[in-house]
Amino acid sequence: MERDRAQDGGAPAGAPRGAAGLDADFVVRWLTAAAAAVDREADRLTELDAAIGDADHGANMRRGFRAVTGTLAEDPPATPGAVLALAGRTLVSTVGGASGPLYGTLLRRTGGELGTEAPRVSSAEFAAALAAGVAAVGALGGSAPGDKTMLDALVPAAEALPESFDAARRAAVAGALATVPLRARRGRASLLGDRSIGHQDPGAASAALLVTALAETAAEAAGSPDD
């Protein structure tokens, strides 16, 4: 934890202090912040979904992330990988729709890559694991960036994460906004064809919330001494 960052070759610039040590508590704080953001923005997500989907994305995500914070408060696992795997399973069990399996897979695979043993992982390991989680989402949904899905926020975020948490945040937010002019090729919005153009994808919007929460949690960790 107290290693000089200059000696930590794998730690990206702008990573939290103690970059060699993202622990279970860090992940719990991230997911708690994500749940708060989803709760705060649920109505906006639902309105985005009403335009090109079926007006339930905010409600479904809120239900799922409330279940995640409830489960983590009850019995938080001891390693970051185990926290992510449990959160992913909880999302799969509570969200429904396409978002449940997709976000559940994102967290489960990211957690799986980290393994359940390591009590701390480096930022570089975390970035690689998240990239694997994002790839698993693409494989499950059979989609790619440009299809107007959550991947339009997640893929650029995962690519920018080795640089810094804040770069990932900026990439996710920009990626979500960039879905507005796209024509949806996956999910229910794709059934609208050209009528899906001109609206932000609700999945990309919620993905940007998650990445923003991650960057904010990292910034807080960096700002707090002895973390």
């Binding site: 009403a50 079926d54 007006a55 339930d56 409600a59 479904n60 799969v92 069990s93 509570t94 969200v95 429904g96 729709g97 396409a98 978002s99 449940g100 399996p101 997709l102 499950l140 949904g141 024509r183 949806a184 090729r185 996956r186 999910g187 229910r188 794709s190 059934l191 609208l192 064809g193 009528r195």
Partner: protein, 331 residues
């Protein structure tokens, strides 16, 4: 929008409690876990059929649980697919050891949740086969979208494959019958009004009084084309043309004239007459007709036409006895 509900959050649970109260002879209902199971499940030596999807399409699917059709149904939130836990638990409850057929409508959420459920159920030793319905011709299959939706054709698959399972056919056989029905079935839907979800309390899209929407799905989403209001006969012309030109049937068909939820049967039977007229003009013979509200979209007004090209075997299975809340014949 006035609705006959208590609170939006309890709509699905309240309906399940009502289903349990109305059909204790047929069904076992787990209201909390959202699972509806055939009363006498698991039936020894029989392949089980399991379906599910978002609520709001009643009587689909829970209304089709019973001898000769489904063994289990897993209702999700309104217009939201159920979660894998429901299907895994239901599969374990109905599997006699002969395996379970998942009947899935082609929506991204349903397909993903059923896919995960199939993997988890197989981990627990349940043999699973899946058939995916994509009967709605209003959606193009060009790879630029999620593809054709599962709609009214689901009823034909659940009834006919359910009859095959009831006769004791093994899983591979039941699955192949289900796929044959799915591949031989096409649908087209028309909305005269949008529907209102309980959570939203207002119409999901704006359809002016003088217009209708052609090529709609069953989730209150807008359709393929909006036109000035048409007569029943003109709607039948358009709907049958869309279905027949895609299916191109060369033998007698099963016909489902389905109401979307808020269209009176008086209108629906008048529409059925028009559909028969158009089919006769197009030299398509109708072997059987079913008219009613079976695959609905909450309080949407409108209808859909589904045709299934049926050979001798499919016709015999269609005529086989069935005893469910929403469809009964023969015993």
């Amino acid at each position: 929008m006035k609705m006959l509900i208590n609170v939006p959050e309890r709509v699905v649970a309240d309906a399940l409690r009502g289903l349990a109260a109305a059909h204790p002879d047929l069904l076992t209902v787990d209201v909390e876990r959202r699972i509806v199971v055939r009363r006498d499940a698991p039936v020894a030596g029989k392949v089980a059929l399991l379906s599910g999807g978002g609520s709001g399409h009643e009587p689909l699917h829970a209304g089709f649980v019973g001898p000769g059709m489904l063994d289990a149904a897993c209702p999700g939130e309104v217009f939201t697919s159920p979660v894998p836990d429901q299907m895994v638990r239901a599969a374990a409850a109905v599997d006699s050891g002969e395996g379970v057929l998942f009947v899935v409508k082609n929506y991204t959420g349903d397909v993903l949740n059923f896919t995960m459920a199939a993997e988890l159920a197989e981990d627990e030793g349940v043999q699973v086969s899946t058939v995916v319905l994509r009967d709605d011709v209003a959606v193009s299959e060009d790879g630029e979208s999620a593809g054709r939706r599962g709609t009214g054709g689901t009823l034909f698959v659940e009834k006919i494959a359910g009859a095959a399972a009831e006769e004791g056919a093994p899983l591979v056989r039941v699955a192949s019958v289900a796929r044959r029905v799915a591949e031989s079935t096409r649908s087209f839907g028309v909305a005269l009004s949008a529907c209102s979800t309980p959570a939203r309390g207002a119409p999901t899209f704006d359809l002016p009084p003088g217009e209708l929407e052609l090529g709609i799905g069953i989730h209150g989403e807008p359709g393929r084309e909006r036109r000035p209001m048409m007569t029943s006969g003109e709607i039948a012309d358009a709907a049958v043309a869309a279905v027949v030109e895609d299916l191109r049937p060369d033998s007698p068909v099963l016909l489902l004239v389905n109401g979307m939820g808020a269209t009176p049967l008086l209108e629906l039977y008048g529409f059925a007459a028009e559909v028969h007229r158009v089919l006769a003009e197009r030299r398509v013979a109708v072997a059987r007709t079913l008219v009613g509200n079976y695959v609905t979209s909450l309080d949407m007004a409108g209808c859909s036409v589904t045709l299934c090209q049926a050979d001798e075997e499919l016709l015999r299975l269609w005529d086989a006895p069935v005893r469910t809340a929403a469809l009964r014949r023969g015993r």
